[in-house]
Every structure is written in structure tokens, then in C-alpha cells.
Symmetry: D2
Subunit: 339 residues, 4 copies
Amino acid sequence: MLTLGVIGCGYWGPNLVRNFYSQPDTRVTKVADLSRERLQHMETLFPALETTQDHRELIEDPGLDAIVISTPVTTHYKLAKEALEAGKHVFLEKPLTHNAAESLELVKLAEAKGLVGMVGHTFLYSPAVMKIKELVDAGELGEVQYISTIRVNLGLFQDDINVVWDLAPHDISIFNFIFGSVPDRVNAVGHDYIQPEIEDVAFLTFRYPKGKLAHVHVSWLDPNKIRKTTVVGSKKMLVYDDVSTLEKIRVYDKGVDVHRHYDTFGEFHLAYRFGDISIPKLADGEPLKAETAHFLDCIRKGTPCRSSFLHGHQVVVALEHACRSMGDSGGETAIDYGL
Amino acid sequence: MLTLGVIGCGYWGPNLVRNFYSQPDTRVTKVADLSRERLQHMETLFPALETTQDHRELIEDPGLDAIVISTPVTTHYKLAKEALEAGKHVFLEKPLTHNAAESLELVKLAEAKGLVGMVGHTFLYSPAVMKIKELVDAGELGEVQYISTIRVNLGLFQDDINVVWDLAPHDISIFNFIFGSVPDRVNAVGHDYIQPEIEDVAFLTFRYPKGKLAHVHVSWLDPNKIRKTTVVGSKKMLVYDDVSTLEKIRVYDKGVDVHRHYDTFGEFHLAYRFGDISIPKLADGEPLKAETAHFLDCIRKGTPCRSSFLHGHQVVVALEHACRSMGDSGGETAIDYGL
Amino acid sequence: MLTLGVIGCGYWGPNLVRNFYSQPDTRVTKVADLSRERLQHMETLFPALETTQDHRELIEDPGLDAIVISTPVTTHYKLAKEALEAGKHVFLEKPLTHNAAESLELVKLAEAKGLVGMVGHTFLYSPAVMKIKELVDAGELGEVQYISTIRVNLGLFQDDINVVWDLAPHDISIFNFIFGSVPDRVNAVGHDYIQPEIEDVAFLTFRYPKGKLAHVHVSWLDPNKIRKTTVVGSKKMLVYDDVSTLEKIRVYDKGVDVHRHYDTFGEFHLAYRFGDISIPKLADGEPLKAETAHFLDCIRKGTPCRSSFLHGHQVVVALEHACRSMGDSGGETAIDYGL
Amino acid sequence: MLTLGVIGCGYWGPNLVRNFYSQPDTRVTKVADLSRERLQHMETLFPALETTQDHRELIEDPGLDAIVISTPVTTHYKLAKEALEAGKHVFLEKPLTHNAAESLELVKLAEAKGLVGMVGHTFLYSPAVMKIKELVDAGELGEVQYISTIRVNLGLFQDDINVVWDLAPHDISIFNFIFGSVPDRVNAVGHDYIQPEIEDVAFLTFRYPKGKLAHVHVSWLDPNKIRKTTVVGSKKMLVYDDVSTLEKIRVYDKGVDVHRHYDTFGEFHLAYRFGDISIPKLADGEPLKAETAHFLDCIRKGTPCRSSFLHGHQVVVALEHACRSMGDSGGETAIDYGL
């Protein structure tokens, strides 16, 4: 039996409690929130829960194996550090922190303590992204050349973070997962149309090892919501449309066969292949359920975590450097992970 | 009656001849091409045409009012210059030239001679782009904030020009037309996957006056052909899908109303509007027909040309600087039009 | 304050309880079900509810103003009759009964007692169908000529009713609502592929007054779920796609203008108009919420009910005659409402 | 070398001439049309053609092996009979004739003379329909249960034939080809909204042997053009959308597995399978080219013709009986092929 406490019962917290509740051999016993009203709401939903406004009661409770943190990002570092130092495994909502120095410290602390640190990069547990990873790793697409993502909608405008920090964590996490590597350079351009100095549209281009590219278009200005990721490989191309309900992934069995026929005039020709399109049936699972199960598994078996603190740190660093390039007129910025 | 000669009878030439033929009070009397075979093909299609392998016969023919040039881009400068110097109006296929120095010289020469110089930026004469221009100028979208374009397909790989020179002229021409201005800075990132040093995928971001952005994604690697332009305004958003046959333009009547209610905690809220989508019926006209008619009109009436040599020069300069930024690791490059 | 009791807590019952709960000045105090297990489930969801396995406790409770019945269709007649005779208003899930004689008796009984009898034809309270009704009544489509519906999916095969009784009640209810009249003849053809004598695919054609047609294709055999209603008018055409999340209704502003130009050869020509397509924004409301509110309103204000027992009876009669035509090799069957 | 003459140079005739021209070892030498103007048009397009206003010149020309007839349907019988009696193979545009007695006579005459008689049911030579036939015959869909077709658009209203004769020949031809059999009964309902006694919308249901159904919805009233055929099999379902350019055929790998588990209460359950969707790449060929090649092949090799006069006759008979049912209030009509 694993026993968990949850800090933060806002927007996402009840979802986390409900999902951890539904896992076998697991119980959530305590939740903390600064808001008395949110705690009362939790008591109604889950009558057996103990509630408190003082998160220290959870940190100091020897009966808790792990702490789940679902609070504003500015508090992540402090809370996670306290929990790790008290010997608790930690699950944190994404992004891990708001700067690379703090996220690196958490990576090292979790490692030093031998504790599981996991970030809620939920997409890595979604049937669609897992299917893409499976197809890519099986070589179905050939060599992946570039990935391009559009993630735009009418934004929930925020006054503390820009659209890059709001939306791009998903994409960077997905890129790193699919490529199995991290970007070493980034160019980024953006603009602030609504609120001064808070970019609401941005274009990011990351360079990964072996000449791979990943491009992100994020925006809070587009009334037509789009969530589309295109993975172009040397053999096939895959389009992942997260807004579609029934046809999230389409695989285009077409590609370029390079046939170079140099004749006396130095010309060459490229042959083209076009083929079938397929729309694979995806598994039905809820990503949050798979994610919470994975956290518990990592604790129990000591196996590596798909969205570990290290993964979360790499996302934070990439975001930080993208914003640095944006502030530097889009110039290429080498990404330093501090590792 | 206007009398025209056409130099170059390859891929696009017969189309031009056919369209000029169909215009009232206009005749095409001579065509030139280096290939005897292409000339015979033209004789079959248009028995009344005189044909020659020597383009000088056209340049020197006092009976011709205008020369239409549809040859490889590397020959544009020389041929256009000869024609202008011989006092002929000139219609050139896009792009105007392959470098800014030459295109600027042609702009100045046409102006000095008082002749019409026009570049075949056909999209500016398409019902869809003209509809967008009309909606934008009427203020239907509010203030246009940014335009984003995807123009990708399995490429007709070329060994002399990259994907930017191949596909982006369309987009830059459209941007300049819609905005009614030219970009002053550009960042560009690309990569060469198939042929060394010939980029086959690229991402360009142009900055226009008043903080407007225009972003282009071009690629020769994508089996799923996409031609999509998104125009985001402060009131509405428009999506132009050139691959669709019946529903090329969709207008999303949604937008962000900035309602700032500062309370004592300095918070503010943004209200959202969502509304109808409309798919306007477009005019039926063939772009090439409208384009050729426009050229003849400019000659007859002395009115300004929508895709003048100046417009063509501005596209060439933007392309040149985009490639410069691409060679400079995507750093921001100020665009100098030499004017 | 109106006080309600609910008989039947299966698939749909909890939804009804929840919705009536959320209405102002309304309370649900008792629920009955034969299954002890379902009652315990209800107690968990709604701790304040009294539960019983004996529905007579509700019928005989003088504190209840209305009875909500969500049980198998074969029990509808008996339960509704008991409730009406005890002086309660009655809300019944659709279809009203399984035969016309019983539904007619309920219509007359409710009328004689001066009580509200309402059937849960939920689509009449959906934003999409209400929008269609509004457009049709405003003359936006011109004269409606015919309606055609496809309602197919992989079926929840049932062993007591066929696909016509399962799926077509929705369509007939919608037709009668939009036309503001009832069909007077029907032809129907069907077949039983999976279970003998239980039709799993059927095609029904209803004739309404003034030459209007309504056609229904229902099937349990189609893996690709479709819910599509096309309303063809003399001026415009409307397509309602209930599977779409964001674009449920499309209006095609096209039509046939009959221009008859008889020349000496007796020929004539018809001119065509094609126009814009529009996708109106629909209201956001949940149909079940609007439906339950409407029932309470009808009780309080004595206003007529959109999906009254009479409406429900007309649907039952149409279904019965469609099945009669199906059993009679698709011959035309006059529909007798017994009124 | 086969030598052909073509009677009728209207809408479709030049297409036929062009296609027969492009076949190897084949020549078209003469064309006949009542209109001098059409003949002049043909002379411009094909300078080597002999033209005449008297079709007897073709019938009586001993140098012609076959006659191609592309004239109004009312003249088909007379012209085809003359040609067959003169010993010519005959290719006729669809439908074969306008009544069954005449089409049957042509079937028998061609057979008696040992000549090839073929009807231009072009869909049987289209890549999409051939792909469907291939998938069905290979058992990919399991046992085909029913086919349903929608063929609607804003009509080219005609004053001599109704929408059934105009549009349904395609569907019946396709049904017969896919099923490999002919319908034995039909129910049909229609209505005349625009011109009295010329139905402009109709719903037809054909019954084929072994309980198979085929349903057709045709209309001239719908501004949104639809050409959609759904083939439901016991294992998979296929949707053929002829309006789509790139994704004409979608195969849904889903179906119903009948698992009957009778427990003590007589209940049973059906299990469901859902699976992948695939969009097969179709061959690129032009149907008319394949069709004309097939005609020549049948003449040369004496092999059976896919759209023989018999096939054409079966379509005519089905149309005739559908209209009879329509005139008889939609009652079931047994189809008598007179064979």
C-alpha cells in the first residue's frame, strides 16, 4: 500500500486525487490548500480525506510515501525541495520550475536521495503519442527528419507567463520523447499583441543532433483551435491531430526515393512514391490514469521514469533558451543543460 | 491592337500564349525558343504563329509592343534588359531575377523608359487572394496581427534553387499585397536533407512595420500537400486553404475583446467572443486570364501594375535576405531594398 | 416548490435526477427501482434521497407533484396510468408506449385530468434542432421540400425491439417538429441480418401534407457512426451533422431559380444560384437541462408542452405504421392517428 | 487495325473520339451528326476525320468494324439496330434504351449476330469501383449485407426524363457489378417539386438474392453535391466518396461479432470490434480510356463484356420497374427481365 498526500486542490488537483484513488493498493489520505473553500469542496467529493491549510502537515507526516504537488509554478521549487528533503517521492505538475537553476537542483536532490521525482507531462502517457513513439522506434517512418507542431487557440491570457511557457512545454516534451534526445540549439521569434512584454504568438525552431529539426508555432490569438503535430520521415509521414476525436493519427505511406540518374547534362531525377493512408485505432486509456499508474510503478519497482525530473529539467532549459533567443532578435542560442 | 512576342515555350509558355490569345484586341505573332521541338509543338497548337530559335528576332521586331518572357530565371535579367532597351513592355515569369542587384536595375530601367514591367505573381490575381485583400481592406478582420503560411508537398526537387526560392515567392508576394507594405527584418532557419546545400525545408519569419509578423513554412518533404494561409486579425480570423476546391476561405467570427478590469489585486480579465463561421462564395475567374488582362490594361491605360517590377524586386530582396539569415544561423537580418 | 419522484434508476435515471435537482424551486425526494443495487448507487450519489423497491410508495405519496418514469417501454403504459390516476403530472422517457392504443389512452387520460404529460424527446430541446426550427419558421430556407436523415452506427442490438423503434423515434419527432404537422402515409423496407425477425436496417419514407417528404435510413450495422439530417428548401439547404462537435449546422445558400424560357423548340432552361455557406454558432445549453426546465414550466404556467403526450402518441403511431408497411412488402400505408 | 465510326458529336462525342484515337491499332475515320456546326467543331479538333450529316454513310461503310453511338437515348434503339444488322459491333452511351422491350431486342440481336454490344457504364471502369469489386470478391468485407447510395446535386433539370433515369443508372450498374447479380424486387417513392410529373427526388430500394438490399437516394434539389456509396459487410464497411479527390475509398475495419451467450434469463450479448481505418491508394487510370480499351479487347478476343448489352438491359429493366413502383405508391414490384 502506498499512501499519498496532495498539495494544491485547484483546477487540476481533484483530477489527480480521483485518479490516484482509483489505483490499486494506493490511498490518498491528506490534502492541503490555502483556500478553505477548495478544501471544503474536496471534503464533499472525498469524505474520507483529511484536509489542512498547512502543507507542512503533509511534509512532516511519516505515514505519507509521496507528495503530489499541483500548485502555481512559482511554488514548485520550494515545495518539492521540502518534500524530497523529508524523504518523500514527488509528483509535480508541469513545468517542473520556472528556471533552470532550480530545476537542476531538484534533479540532483532527488537523485541524491534516491527518490522518484516525476513531472506531469501527460502527453507522454496518451495513446496517440505512445503510438507515434512506437511507430518511430519500429522504423515505420524511416529516419525522422523533422517535426512541426501547431498549438494555437484563443488563449487563456495570463499575466505572469507568456505563450511559450504556457503551451510549448507540451511540444518540447513530445519532441524529446520521440527523438530520444534533447535539442542543442534554438531560434525563436515572437510578439506581444495584447499585453506588453507577454508574447502571445511565437515561432520556435529547435535543432536536435543529426540534423533533425523541430518547429513550434504557439499562439493565444487564433479562434480556430489547432493541435497538430507532423512527423516527416524518410519513408512515411505522420500527422497527429489532437482535436480530432476519432482520427487522431494519419500515416501517409508516401515518400521520396532518391534516384539519382546523372546523364551527360548533369541532370538528375527523383522518383516519387505515393501510397496508402492509414488511420490506426488507438488504445482507449485515459492519459492521466496511465500517468498516475506509472508514478506508482516507478516507486514500487525502482524503474526509470518516462517524465522524470531530468526530462522536466530539459524542457525548462529549452523554454528558457527559447525565450532568450526571442529576446535576442531570434538569434541562434546554444542550449546549456548545466549537466 | 497590341502585338506580343513570347520568349520561352516550355512548361508555362503555351499557357501564356493561350491566355494572351483570348484577350480582345491583342495578338501574339512570334515565339522564340532554343528547342526546335518546342517550337514545332507551338506550331501545332497555334498554326498562325511565327517561330524562331533566335530571340533577337523578337526584340528587334518593330511590330511588337511587348515581350513576354517565360524562360529559366537565370536568363531573366539579360532578356528583360534587352527588351526594355528596345522599347518593349515586358511581362516576366516570377521570380523577377535571382539577385537583388539585377532586379533593382530592371526596376530603374523600366521606370526610366516609361515602360510597363510586370512579374507573373499569379496569386495576386486569384479570386481567393483578392477576396482576402478586400476583406482586410474593409476592416472585416480588424487590425491584422499576423499571417502564417504552410506550403509543403513532395517536392519537384531542383538542383539549382532551394525550397525557399521555389515556394516562398508566392507567400512573400501575398504578404506584401495583403499588408500593403514590405518586411524590414527576417529570421530564417532551414535544413538540407536530400541534396547537400540545397535546403528542402525552411521556416521564415518576416517582421513588417507596426509589429506585424508573417511566418512561412516551406518544404519539399511532406507527402501530404498543404497550401494554407491563416490571417489573424484583432476581430476575426481567416483561413485560406488553396487545396480545397469548394471551401477555400473560412472566416471565423471570433476574437479577443480586451476588457481590462483592474481590481485591487491588479488582476485583469479578458473576455472572449465566439461566433459564426462563414465560407464565402468566390468568383470563378481563372487567375492567369485576369493576370494577362491586367498587363494589357496597364499598357493601354498607363495605370500602376499590381505585380510591378518593383513588387517583384521586393520579393527577390526578401528571398535573398531570408537565405542570408539561413546562412547566418537564423539571426535577424535587416532587409535593404536598395531604393 | 415542486416535488418529484423518479421511477427507474437505470441508464438514464441518474441523469434525470441530477438535472431535476439542479432546477430552482424543485426537489426530488424519492426514487424507486426493482434493483436494490441501483438504489444503493443512487443513495451514494444523492445521500438525501429516499429509495424504495415499491413504486406504489411514490404513486401514493401525497407530497409528490409529479412522477418521472425512466423504465423499459413495456411498463410505461401501466406506470403512467397509475400516476395520472393518482393526480400526478408525468414525465416519461421516449417512446411513450409500444403501441398506439395505449398511447392514445394516456393522451386522453392526461387531458381529462388536466395534468401535464410529457415525453422525453430530448432532441426538440437541443440547440441544433431549435436553430433549425427557427431558421425554417423564419423562411430562411424558403419552402421546405424534403428532409432526409441518416442515423446509423454499430448497434446496441436489442432482442425485443427493432432498429426502427430504437432509432427512428428521434427522426420522426424532429420531422413533426420542423414541419409542424404529422405524416399521413408511409412506405418502409427493412431487413434482419443478425437476429431473425428483428430488423437491423430499414429505410422509411413518410409523406407529409403539401407534398413534403421525409426519409429515414436507420441501421445497427454501420461501423462508421452517422447522425445527419438534410433539410432541402426552395431557397437554401441545411445540413445538421450531430456527430460534429463544432460545426453541427451548415447552411448552403444556393438553390434553384426556375427560369423557364420556352423557345420555338420547346426547350427551357433553369438558372442556378450558388452562394455562401454559413456555419452558425449554436447556443451552448445542455438539452436535458432545457427539457427538464420545460416540464417544470408547463406544470407551473399551464403552457402547452413541446413534446406532449400527443406528440409522443403521433410518433408511436408513425412507428407502428412504418413497421406495418415493412411487414407488407413496403406498400404505402395510410397513417391513422385514432383522434 | 480496327476502324470505327462515331454517330453523335455533342457533349460526350469528342471525348469518345479522343479516347478511341489514343488506342493502339485503332482509328476513327468518320463521324456523323445532324448539326453542321458540331461537325465543323470536330473537323477543327481532328482534321483527318470525314464528317457527314447522314449516319447511313457510316452504317453502310464496309470499311468500318464498329459504330460508336452517342446520341439522345430515344434514338439508341433505331441506330443500334441498324448498325447490328449491318454487321457492326456497337458501343452505346448509357442507358441502353428507354424501355425494356427495345433493350431486350438489342441484346438478342447482338447475340444472334455474334457481335459485341457494349453500353458506356463508365463507373465499372473507374479505379474506385474496380477496387471495391476486388475487395468484395476477395472477401475483405465479409458477406456484403447492403449497399446504400446518395447521388444528389443541383440538377441539370431535364424535361423528358426524371431524376431516376438521369442519375440511378450509375448506381444500379454498380450494384449489379458488385453483387454479381440482379435485383428481383423494388420499392420506390419520389416526388416532383419543380416540374409536374417529372420526379426530382426519389428513394429506391432494391432487393437482391440472399436478402441483400441496395438503396438509392437521388435528387436534383440539393445544392451540396454528394456522390457517396456505402457497402456494409459482415466484417468491414467501405465508404466510397466520389467527390473526394484524394481519399475516395475508406475501409472501416470494424464489425459485429455475434457472440450469443444465453443465460438463464434468456439475455444475450453482442461483442463489438472496432479497428483501423485505411484509405487505399487507387490506380490513376482514366475510366473512359479503360472503357474504350475494353470494347476493343472484346472485339479482338471475343471475351465477355463487363457492361454488355445484357448488363445495360438489366439496368433499363430495373429503372422501368422502379418507376412503376413509384407510380404505384411505392408498392413492391417484382422485376421481370423477360429473359
